[in-house]
């Protein structure tokens, strides 16, 4: 049975400023949703608030996984419930190697008393690194420390591949990528896609959607979804520009 991530009439503020103003969206595993919109419209705020970032306050509404609200629980518990945020700007963690970091993450995901099998872990890690064309030397490098933009994004997808979430929110995963890196990252995501994974792709360019084809496209404006459609909506948006949204879609 498919799992669902339900966002219900969500309102999010940073300080006193409301950024997300009543957004609803349901994503089922097996589906890829794209949220498009210009900068400053609340896309990143939406994903960070759902992941549980302490700077964002959810003032009303709810987020549920399989009917169970995740708003009362800590960010790590949300992650263990199957949520994954691929960051637009991943933090650099000096002194913590990628191998140890992902290992700690997987260990945390497991139940009390369960031990990670080190051999199987490295086998899987290397396999996923090969898929994303990440040099194996990176296992001993500190997480994102001194990485290029493309390396950081690939490292995010690597973590996603290892953690096998049910729902992934990918925040501007295409930004800062050259065409080769974009292809590698997209191929990676396409391999992870399937019945067990629901994806929310946040982007303001249609470019990424040539590589990862969405089932649904939503246009976000001023904290709300103002139009939804299939992948043709992305093309229409690309052709007409965000001015079109402003003129046509914002009706009182």
């Amino acid at each position: 049975m498919a799992s669902s991530l339900e966002i219900k009439n969500l309102h999010v503020s940073i300080g006193d400023k409301e950024i997300v103003k009543g957004l609803s969206l349901t994503v089922k595993t097996g589906e890829v949703h794209a949220i498009m919109g210009p900068n400053g419209t609340g896309k990143s705020t939406l994903s960070k608030a759902i992941a549980g970032h302490p700077d964002y306050t959810i003032t009303s509404g709810d987020v549920l996984i399989d009917g169970k609200s995740i708003l009362g629980i800590e960010p790590d518990e949300r992650a263990r419930a199957g949520l994954f945020l691929a960051f637009q700007y991943p933090a650099e963690i000096p002194g913590v190697s990628i191998a140890n970091f992902i290992r700690a993450a997987l260990q945390a995901k497991m139940g009390e008393g369960e031990e990670l099998d080190a051999t199987a872990y490295y086998k899987k890690l290397y396999q996923k690194m090969d898929m994303l064309q990440i040099d194996r030397k990176f296992t001993s490098r500190a997480v994102n420390d001194g990485f290029s933009g493309g390396e950081k994004k690939r490292c995010e997808i690597l973590q996603m591949a290892m953690l096998e979430p049910r729902f992934a929110m990918m925040d501007e995963t295409d930004s800062g990528l050259d065409i080769d890196a974009l292809r590698i990252v997209s191929d990676g995501v396409n391999q992870l896609k399937g019945d067990a994974l629901g994806v929310i792709m946040i982007t303001h360019y249609q470019r990424l959607l040539n590589y990862i084809v969405p089932d649904h496209v939503h246009v976000m404006w001023d904290g709300r979804i103002v139009k939804s459609g299939d992948k043709s909506l992305a093309l229409e948006l690309e052709a007409k520009g965000y001015e079109w949204v402003k003129k046509e879609l914002i009706k009182a």
Binding site: D76, A91, A108
Partner: protein, 435 residues
């Protein structure tokens, strides 16, 4: 200020009578040694205690540096050295200033000239070498009085001499321990690497945790031309102890010295480290990690002196502060007039895990040459909430995430070690001290 008046005059139990007794026990050792001790005792009594205007004691709790109550005579050892969690067996173990145990080093190497012995033994076999190197550098970091006390009262220590071209693969570990209430110890390790020699030496300092001790130690490191000298000082004295450790490192042409000092113990612990780059190509890497907790104080004073062109020094001192702990870092880079093309780096980073802790940082530069590259800086920060969130977003609970970030902070220093086994051992020791 009656307390400070008291301090100026007090020699504690280190009286002329106590000194005479100590000297008596060294009868028969070379006359230069006895003379030097006598001169040192005079110096100790004539030098004033650090005063309020003494820049090299700025921010220090000077009133904590009292000798009163500590014993000048050695009480017998009551505890044996336990497993210290380092690879291999210690070559020499000292308890209360006397050798209690030794494990012979590879005979094939000693036949080729390697010496790992006590200072007392070396005074008989290598008197001239000792005379040239024992406490031979000026005390420029504020503790001349205590250095004199050290020389006057030192009973024994470790002497390591690595002959020309010899490369030792496994580290040599020396254990210095203090036991019994109010014991004063004067640990000393002297290391010399001759041309192109290579060695790693670990000093491990430990004391019983039930009473206070005064630990007044020193080490002399001398890296001859083209040699490589790695030193680790693992300071794990009891948290009740008053500790002072004075380091002097001399680096010659194309030689490389690396020191890592790990400060875990002491109620009040001061560390002074002096590196002198004396010939072209010399490189000194100075590293330190401190875990400051409770109401303890860690005071670190460093001096990097570039005396020749094309020399390099790289200092990285990291402190983690918890509770109401205090740290002081005061570092100075001095570049002499003809030390052109100097490359000097100095960085002090403090990670605050508590709002009540206090980190003081005083970085400094004194440059006489005009073609140099000198960088220094100090940062004080908390655990970055964005980093914490990132780890939590990857399933890791907050407490564990916190721990990973703190260990990551240490790891940046430990990564500088070439010896993976030692790296792992130190990591384990740090983790067990931190939790």
């Amino acid at each position: 200020m009656s307390t400070s008046t008291n301090l100026v005059t007090s020699v504690g139990a280190f009286s002329a009578e106590a000194f005479a007794l100590a000297l008596e026990s060294h009868k028969g050792l070379p006359s230069w040694w006895l003379e030097r001790k006598e001169a040192a005792y005079k110096q100790f009594t004539s030098l004033a205690y650090p005063s309020a205007t003494d820049e090299s004691w700025r921010f220090s709790t000077r009133s904590g540096f009292k000798l009163d109550g500590f014993l000048a005579t050695n009480s017998p050892a009551t505890t044996a050295a336990k497993d210290i969690g380092l690879p291999g067996k210690p070559a020499l173990t000292f308890v209360n200033n006397s050798l209690t145990e030794s494990n012979p080093v590879d005979q094939a190497l000693t036949q080729k000239g390697l010496v790992v012995s006590t200072l007392k033994q070396a005074l008989k076999t290598h008197s001239e070498v000792l005379k040239a190197h024992f406490m031979a550098q000026d005390q420029r970091l504020g503790s001349a009085k205590f250095a004199a006390l050290h020389t006057a009262f030192i009973n024994d220590g470790a002497f390591i001499y690595v002959p020309k071209g010899m490369e030792l693969k496994t580290p040599i570990t020396i254990v210095h321990s203090a036991s019994g209430a109010n014991t004063a110890v004067f640990p000393h390790t002297l290391v010399i690497t001759e041309e192109n020699a290579q060695v790693s030496v670990i000093d491990y300092f430990v004391s019983d945790s039930t009473s206070a001790h005064f630990c007044c130690g020193a080490n002399d490191l001398y890296a001859g031309h083209g040699s490589k000298l790695n030193y680790v000082g693992l300071q794990n004295w009891s948290t009740l102890d008053l500790c002072l450790q004075m380091n002097s490192t001399v680096v010659k042409r194309d030689a490389r010295a690396q020191s890592l000092n790990l400060h875990l113990g002491g109620h009040q612990a001061r560390h002074e480290s002096l590196s002198q780059l004396q010939a072209p190509g010399a490189f000194s890497e100075m590293l330190a990690l401190t875990i400051a907790s409770g109401e303890r104080e860690f005071d670190q004073r460093t001096l990097q002196i570039h005396q020749a062109p094309n020399t390099k020094s790289d200092l990285l001192y990291k402190n983690v502060l918890q509770d109401k702990a205090r740290t002081i870092f005061s570092g100075l880079i001095v570049v002499d007039q003809d030390a052109q093309k100097t490359d000097a780096y100095q960085s002090n980073r403090n990670l605050m895990l508590s709002d009540s802790a206090e980190a003081n940082s005083l970085p400094g530069l004194e440059i006489q040459a005009n073609d140099v590259r000198c960088t220094h800086g100090a940062t004080t920060s908390r655990v970055d909430p964005e980093e914490l969130f990132y780890l939590q977003a990857r399933c890791i609970p907050e407490a564990k995430a916190h721990e990973l970030l703190v260990f990551g902070f240490f790891e940046e220093v430990l990564n500088r070690l070439e010896d993976d086994e030692l790296h792992a051992a130190l990591r384990t020791i740090i983790q067990s001290n931190f939790n």
